[in-house]
Symmetry: C2
């Protein structure tokens, strides 16, 4: 018998999430049966999609959604051995029993010097989101200029570095001077703090006077209204998220995109990384190779304590993290 | 010596165009020189782009932009014979002298029973806009559902019919009951009058309960905000124009598109037909073939009198035309 703690969605988020939207639940798990495994979470992930898709993927009372890295502590399933590490889709829960469905072993031969937390970061969905979103939707060519916002986040920091690997000029936008410094350190060509520049339009123009070929957008809203006017002819915009609108009233209003779209024949496409599920292995191998070559850094922002998960989640939505927001139990 | 009349853009449009924005000018043309031709306009075109691109392509005092069908009345250029018909880019002017640059002869072997006005309509830029915009940006597949607004206009009516030829279900939105009837006559599956339906959302749902795969948008703004929420996963939106926003204050605000874009992984692309200039011949041949087979009808709304061009233009922007708005001198 093992005690499992879980964070539930007590109430659907209205506006910015608050502590009372979450509820901690404790339960004793039963003994596992044939075919089952018991896993213990070691690295939790908090991500923007847990806010944006919350109404689509959860109902009140559900365990908060998400993947975590877990260790197999007991197994009656021949596919999983005690001590192995898996990605579990069980959400914000310390211990869970699974019949194996949805559990994935980490890449084989995971190098000793690579933290396993990367399996929910640069070597997990955030890294894959950056990889496929940038390469398949923005389709950057060497010499082109790529704009990415929330650039110090798990996805944004990978997007910028992959664009550099592909020979692009990279402009990042982020929300603190420390993050600006960090992004310059890891190779971004131009970075600015959107909270302190006097004019976003001027900052974008100064960073790339000739405009932008690609724009990887996690923000939407007002930011996009201004950025779209700086796109070059035939520019490509990957709409990965819209963090500026998740927490406001719905439906949100903002600058009309149609005018810049047809004036400069822009292509703006929304995507969810699961579209490329059958190519994940390719993506993960490439990301791992870049990491081992030192070309792709993987900043992490680690919060300790399972009890702090709601705070870590809300902090991530406020941009308190540099790199992937991770929680250890 | 020939008297030429021209309509000038007297003042850049602010909001909806008004009579005082235009000015009539008369001048005697000189004798033509070697290499030149004198042409006389026979069919003028008034199109939405003359409003949307007005500031980009004209300055105050310029002749109003546009193509017209003209007859060669005098020629000292071996490429053009007296009596031949050409497309001229000279704009809103009854007579003009050209050295041949930008003049294009109509398709060879133009059938006797096909009005030459179609060279600025279904067999001109509007037809090509429908053809390439629908087939290259929306990429409809047989069995899919296509939504088109301003469906009774020059472009919209062609879009709907081409989508039918390609085996799609076609839903049109237009602004009068007469136009609704007309569009049903020419084969649209579902048509509604956006001015009289109690709810646009309900009208769209009723016309296609399962949603839309393709959306050819000439309107933008509020209409698009609602239509985007009715798109199916991986839907494609061709942004041809945004007539709802041309005449309002700039920059316009409206419903945020980012949320539906990433929720359903939609692709929204703006385009200008000149992108496919090197394929115009292919497009025109196909359009002509469909017209001769009776598969593509070409409604025209003809205004008589050169003096009525501003009124015809403003009427077109208000949607008074069914089909291509043409002016004869």
């Amino acid at each position: 018998m093992v005690l499992s703690k879980s964070w539930l969605l007590a109430k659907h988020f209205e506006g910015f999430p608050k502590h009372s939207d979450f509820k901690l639940k404790e339960e004793m798990l039963p003994a596992i049966k044939d075919g089952e495994v018991l896993v213990e979470a070691v690295y939790f992930s908090v991500d923007p999609y847990m806010r944006s898709y919350s109404r689509r993927i959860m109902k009140e009372g559900d365990v908060m959604t998400g993947n975590h890295v877990a260790r197999v502590v007991e197994s009656k399933n021949h596919k999983f051995q005690v001590g192995e590490f898996v990605i579990s889709p069980a959400g914000w829960t310390t211990h869970s029993i699974s019949n194996g469905t949805g559990l994935h072993l980490l890449l084989p031969n995971w190098p000793e010097n690579i933290p396993k937390s990367l399996a929910v970061g640069a070597l997990g969905l955030p890294g894959l989101t950056a990889y496929f979103g940038l390469l398949e939707i923005c389709r950057p060519k060497a010499g082109e200029t790529v704009l990415v916002n929330t650039a110090a986040g798990a996805v944004g920091s990978a997007v910028g570095q992959i664009a550099k690997i592909k020979g692009c000029k990279v402009v990042g936008c982020t929300g603190s001077d420390d993050k600006v410094s960090y992004l310059k350190e890891i190779g971004f060509d131009e970075v600015f703090n959107y909270k302190t520049v006097p004019s976003l339009e001027e900052a974008l123009k100064k960073a790339s006077p000739s405009g932008y070929d690609c724009y990887f957008d996690n923000v939407g809203g007002e930011f996009s209204g201004i950025a779209l006017l700086q796109m070059k002819k035939y520019g490509r915009i990957a709409v990965c998220g819209a963090i500026s609108v998740y927490n406001g009233p719905s439906p949100q209003r903002g600058p009309c995109v149609q005018f810049p779209l047809f004036m400069n024949e822009l292509c703006m496409e929304g995507f969810i990384v699961l579209r490329w599920q059958n190519r994940f292995e390719e993506g993960l191998k490439q990301l791992m190779a870049w990491i081992l070559e030192g070309k792709l850094k993987y900043p992490e922002h680690i919060t300790k304590g399972f009890e702090n998960m709601p705070a870590a989640f809300m902090g991530m939505l406020k941009g308190e993290n540099t790199g992937k927001a991770i929680v250890t139990p």
